[in-house]
Subunit: 266 residues, 3 copies
């Protein structure tokens, strides 16, 4: 599910969290959301850990929400889970959006959906030159999540955000660094070393300064992001199972291109 | 005045709106503001239209407010028009700032004043390599409009916005894409095709997702932009006809350089 | 302390303010904060001055807060000074953050601490290719100041801001222009001429338009920046003299590397 390495390669005070479901391209199901949230919460609490590094096993960073699980769970179950905030997506986003210590992401491959929408909550995003990013919400008949209707325009600019959200097209690593989603693009073989190196530099600083600095940085953003997330979740729930979403899922299962042209106004 | 092409070049669900007063470099008078606003409103309402594309006929995108009309109308008339929100500038900006479907701008040439300040309300701005941008408000003794005192620092960054607003200098297409005002620069001959191509891609997505995504994107911006516009309009009205504005207009009519150096404090 | 040149090199309506303590790398002590604030206040008030240009004498722009003075003053004195808003840092930042006329910075060399955190309040920042920037707060066991926990993510983007704040590493002029902290990088020999040239262009515009435009630009930012500064100052006071700050100062005096690894939770 996930792997946890504390002080990886001897880098003190750093925890490396690896999404480890390569057979599912590291898709997030309820269990994995919870495991990552718990692993982060320990970094927040433990005095010997200062920085969290996130990466993925294999060729993907994360393919996003596990659509198989999404299909198995009924819409009511999902709404309940979202509202309770105890499990899955809500627990994970609630943890990362208010995380009190620095987070470094090392995006090793494809990052889809929540694989991308988690990135604005990471303080530094390094990406392999092989990484690619996709926000497929429109093509699924739903809307952005995780506060990304607020965070993406801030991070990427309105136009780059509108483009990826309105077209659901892939963004290359080069495009992602140009628009600000990614801080630095690195050769694949060097990605983890570079991410751990910068995490290690940060981890040498006084933790009290890091925590208070991050709290100050978050102060002008956290409430706005949470309000955006609340707005998004209301719409997301409403559109899940609506005609466009049903057509997107049917087309996926039938391996054909979706056709939304007769769904105007629905 | 304007031309309307629905499904141009066979691109379904797209309306192309062309500013068509090339003899006035596509300057906006009351009638053209109203015509564009109405053409947009139909896109918002009609189920067979999903994306609006804006461009200009001839060598200009738009030279901005029609100064001839501005001169003919008294200051009181303009104030009344602005306050009523029924005609002209206010109607156009009120429509575009809250527009519920995606807008793509294809800036084919010079974009002055409102020709530029409308662009932050477009979701994607493509520009011909021959396009140039100018915010001439300071040189006319007035202030930014259309919420641009808020939108330009967000889109371009404070410094690039301050530079164009404080100097009234031209911005090239290259500079405009570098600072974020423009999403993509295209060879003049390819501009409209590229704009229609991306509009066509967007128009294939479920309209419900596009509309709800745009509403979510606007949610953190719309009230702030409107408040900025209200502040701007109060100052704009006060400065219209004041000494600096009178000197700017006199210099324009007398074909000499304006001299504002004796107007300190006025 | 500082030099004041009105209409430097014949550039009308411009005041050049030069930080002139090269023996202290233009560090700010209470007297210099006050002198710069007063020199700026005169630009705000005088009808014959429209634009302020800031630069430094010698190889530094400013090395930031005078740590010698900081050491001599007790923590209680500093808190009193900060709260009174009458002297030093608070007076300077209070003046520059709400300054009613355009400010151009010509960063000639190293800019550390407040030497960098003042820059988001300048409307245009030109930098010598030899300039370097550093936010050393974390390495001193304290937090960002001058509203920079708000202004730096806005200007540089969250990730670039987090990197310099979390690592206390130097930023080159090239990096500073790439992330948006600096508007333009200039050869050292041409820096002041270019800064005065753009200041001179601005100074030819009607002052009423410049002042009202700047007020409109500030309207969406000023209250947020002040609230950020208030939050920062509460934390800064609390951390001054705390274990991490004491270790940083002790290491500085003993010319050794600081070791914060046993200070978790303090």
């Amino acid at each position: 599910m996930i792997r946890i390495d504390d002080h990886p390669n001897g880098v003190d005070r750093v925890r490396l969290i690896t999404f480890d479901r390569p057979e599912a391209r590291n898709a997030f199901d309820t269990e994995m959301y919870g495991a990552v949230a718990d692993a982060l919460a320990e970094v927040a609490e433990r005095d010997d850990l200062t920085v969290a590094v996130l990466t993925g096993e294999g060729s993907a960073y994360s393919s996003g929400q596990d659509l198989g699980e999404m299909g198995r769970l009924g819409s009511a179950d999902r709404s309940e889970q979202r509202e309770s905030g105890e499990y899955g997506f809500t627990k994970f986003i609630g943890t990362i959006e208010a995380f009190p210590k620095p987070i470094v992401a090392a995006v090793n491959g494809v990052a889809v959906g929540v694989g991308t929408t988690m990135l604005p909550y990471c303080d530094l995003v390094l990406a392999s030159s092989a990484a690619r990013f996709r926000l497929q919400f429109a093509s699924l008949g739903v809307v952005p999540e995780a506060g990304s209707s607020f965070t993406l325009p801030i991070v990427m600019g309105w136009q780059a955000a509108a483009h990826v959200l309105f077209t659901a097209e892939w963004l290359s690593a080069t495009e992602a660094v140009a628009c600000g989603l990614v801080w630095k693009v690195v050769e694949p073989v060097a990605l983890l070393d570079e991410a751990l190196a910068v995490a290690g530099k940060i981890a040498k600083m006084p933790v009290v300064s890091l925590v208070e600095t991050k709290r100050l940085l978050q102060a002008t953003r956290l409430d706005v992001a949470r309000a955006a997330r609340a707005r998004e979740e209301a719409v997301f729930s409403r559109l899940t199972g609506a005609p466009a979403n049903r057509e997107a899922i049917a087309a996926f299962l039938e391996k054909r291109e979706a056709d939304f042209t007769n769904l105007a106004g629905q």
